[in-house]
Subunit: 430 residues, 2 copies
């Protein structure tokens, strides 16, 4: 019996892959979800791990635990490296996986365009390891400053530059400013952490360029109240281990800064390229696969691409943004489409239902964009908190973690302040 | 004013160093605590991190945050590498630290005696990175088994050997058995995790050799009820990547096991050797510095050695055990001794007040040894829980973490199941 059922292979355990599997829960199909990590990451709270507010375990869940009740689903730890579309096989680093239907949802990584050499000095924030690396760098910078006499060199350790004013950059800059101005204010003897400089550099003429102009301005004011220096219409022209060079109009400035964080660009997972090569599909300049209205690859109705890896232009002319709600809705759509096909029912094209966007700026401030309804400040922050609470409760029963976090918020404490591997500068994910 | 005060340098932020600093809180001295990590580890719960029950952040606290209210204390992130006793300076990897009084409390690491080559295949459990490495290996073993057909090879992935039947080995073996038999029982499809073999190998004729015989037997029965195979009077003669060879009397057996954990021996931190060389003090065969009745180094009344690094034989003829209560009491004693000397009062030799020992064996079982009062099972486990709860509350206000953990215990969930770096076998501390 099981051998004759439709075999669905899902590559990637992010929001897209997880929601596909969950929606197929009662379907007469055999699902294999393969991921090179054994856990799902709740990416919207990654910046909290990067700034010591939450632990990696607080925002991750073991895929196999999350999916344990789905009796038609198995989870494989393995790394997909290529696709054999003719043979209907996913090639893994150590094996292969046959499918009747393939769902590729391997997401995106941060990207430095033509400046790969910046990666070492300006880490991005896409994985748990990225987050703990950033946490280590930020915390270590304060430690280095504490042991040095007042000097321009010390000021460099106390300067933090965040490149990119989208939601991730805004959230990171706000959280670092809070860390310096409040959470750690009493912990040092030689330095005053409240004097740390946090710079946010954005190439467009405002932060949160995808939001309405009024919310961008409110977000900038909230950041400035936290002590963040916001530079818009400003380009980064160089990043070295101890400084960042920015250009605004004709003016160029080199700012000593030992800690530079990258939130300025992403590129689709390399599997997007593999899939495009194998199928002849087109991909856009950030490596996303351009999909059909039903999220399949042209000429391969059995291959779906969803989430940050997919370029879906059919609704508004613009590709949909790389955010969790898009991936979740696409995951559910793919599951429904598989069921419709199995039942011989007609398939409708994918439609994204925009429930709105939220970005948070430090404690008790946020901006919310729900089309005509736009608000900011404390109400937006409460909504942000509520949405994330609901998710954590639904998903993981992590309600006590959430209260612990709320308690830390009230007491300005950040409990997860581990520097990986102490004084050495090596990468590690503690 | 500050420049003329007695400068106390404390090397190491474990229980010994931390309790010294805390006790000196109101003393007219300037304290510098230097550690190569920025956090303190609550070692008694390290095995919980190694088995996915707790996160690194749950059992660590930033030293600087913990000591933030001690206005006479500063914390330095730095690595001590040697001592200049004549010049009264601690040599750091990147600087130096002058002192009038020195307290060395850098603890111990696990040790393989004449088999250093076993370290790679049998990690020990002393640091946060050790714990996350063990967690990754244990979890990955189940993942590897899930993707393999039933075979002797797969059985090797489902066999876990713990070498050493002291408290750490007993706690690890019990927790792994629980993980396999309860926490993960429903999470896999191809394997039955309840069939996993957990071996505990001990050279002495019973587990917990430092405990009374009756408690050793109760501990063994508790382990066996959890499904652990206990082999006493058994020596390990070889460890390779895929098997462990044990010898009992004349009989030798090679047991396929992909996961071997080392809880069989420790050796003092290399700084013990440095200090002995610099001072002419003697050290024992595990590298501990043999101290005077007042915990100082012979000929150097200004240099104290405490905790796992110290060999203190003056009370019972035997050195005191390397456990947290000894380090805590020694830390307080050193602080009091510094104060007595500053006040010109006589100094009494150190006396350890034995409050008893506790070891836990999985859920709701433990053994407690309070001299004439000995008990085991659920009452001992409740006591164990209470003692650790009190510590966490006193130290870190981590009461909600504790409740989260209790909740996971009741629901058999282990929330912190992250495999570092996925399919690759490299070391990482997520």
């Amino acid at each position: 019996m099981a051998g004759t059922r439709c075999r669905v292979a899902i590559v990637g355990g992010g929001f897209g892959g997880l929601y596909t599997a969950k929606r197929l829960r009662r379907a007469p199909v055999d699902v294999t979800l393969v991921d090179r990590r054994n856990f799902h990451v709740f990416q919207p709270l990654l910046y909290q791990v990067a700034t010591g507010g939450l632990s990696p375990a607080d925002i991750t869940s073991a895929l196999r635990w999350t999916l344990r009740r789905l009796r038609n689903t198995r989870v494989w730890l393995g790394e997909a490296v290529d696709f054999d579309l003719a043979g209907q096989r996913v090639r893994l680093a150590d094996g292969e996986l046959e499918y009747d239907v393939l769902v590729v949802a391997t997401g995106a990584r941060h990207h430095y365009f033509s400046h790969d050499e910046w990666e070492q000095d300006a880490p991005g924030l896409k994985t748990i390891e990225d987050a703990t690396e950033i946490r280590s760098r930020v915390l270590r910078a304060f430690e280095m400053a504490e042991r040095r006499p007042a000097s321009a060199k010390r000021d460099g350790w106390l300067t933090f530059a965040v490149v990119g004013g989208g939601p991730t950059g805004v959230e990171l800059a706000g959280a670092i400013a809070e860390l310096a101005r409040y959470s750690m204010a009493k912990d040092f003897r030689a330095i005053d952490t409240r004097g740390a400089r946090v710079l946010l550099v954005e190439g467009a003429d405002r932060v949160l360029p995808s939001y309405p102009r009024s919310l961008s301005h409110r977000a900038q004011r909230s950041l400035e109240r936290l002590g963040v220096t916001v530079s818009t219409s400003t380009l980064v022209t160089d990043i070295t281990g101890d400084a960042i060079t920015v250009q605004r109009g004709e003016e160029s400035e080199r700012i000593p800064a030992r800690t530079v964080l990258w939130a300025a660009g992403i590129h689709a997972s390399p599997l997007g390229r593999r899939l495009a090569d194998a199928s002849g599909a087109e991909s856009d300049r950030t490596g996303r696969v351009i999909v059909e209205p039903d999220l399949t690859v042209p000429g391969h109705p059995e291959v779906f691409v969803i989430g940050d890896l997919a370029h879906f232009p059919h609704q508004t002319g613009e590709p949909l943004p790389g955010i969790a709600p898009v991936a979740m809705q696409q995951g559910r759509y793919v599951a429904d489409t598989i069921l419709r096909r199995l039942g011989g029912r007609p398939v409708r094209p994918f439609r994204y239902f925009n429930k709105g966007e939220l970005a948070t700026i430090g404690r008790a401030a946020a901006v919310a964009n729900f089309g005509r309804l736009r608000f900011s400040g404390y109400p937006a922050w409460l909504l942000w908190l509520f949405v994330h609470l609901m998710y954590l409760v639904e998903f993981e029963n992590r309600i006590l973690v959430f209260f612990q976090w709320a308690w830390n918020y009230l007491t300005w404490n950040r409990g997860a302040r581990l520097i990986a591997h102490g004084t050495a500068a090596d990468h590690d994910g503690t």
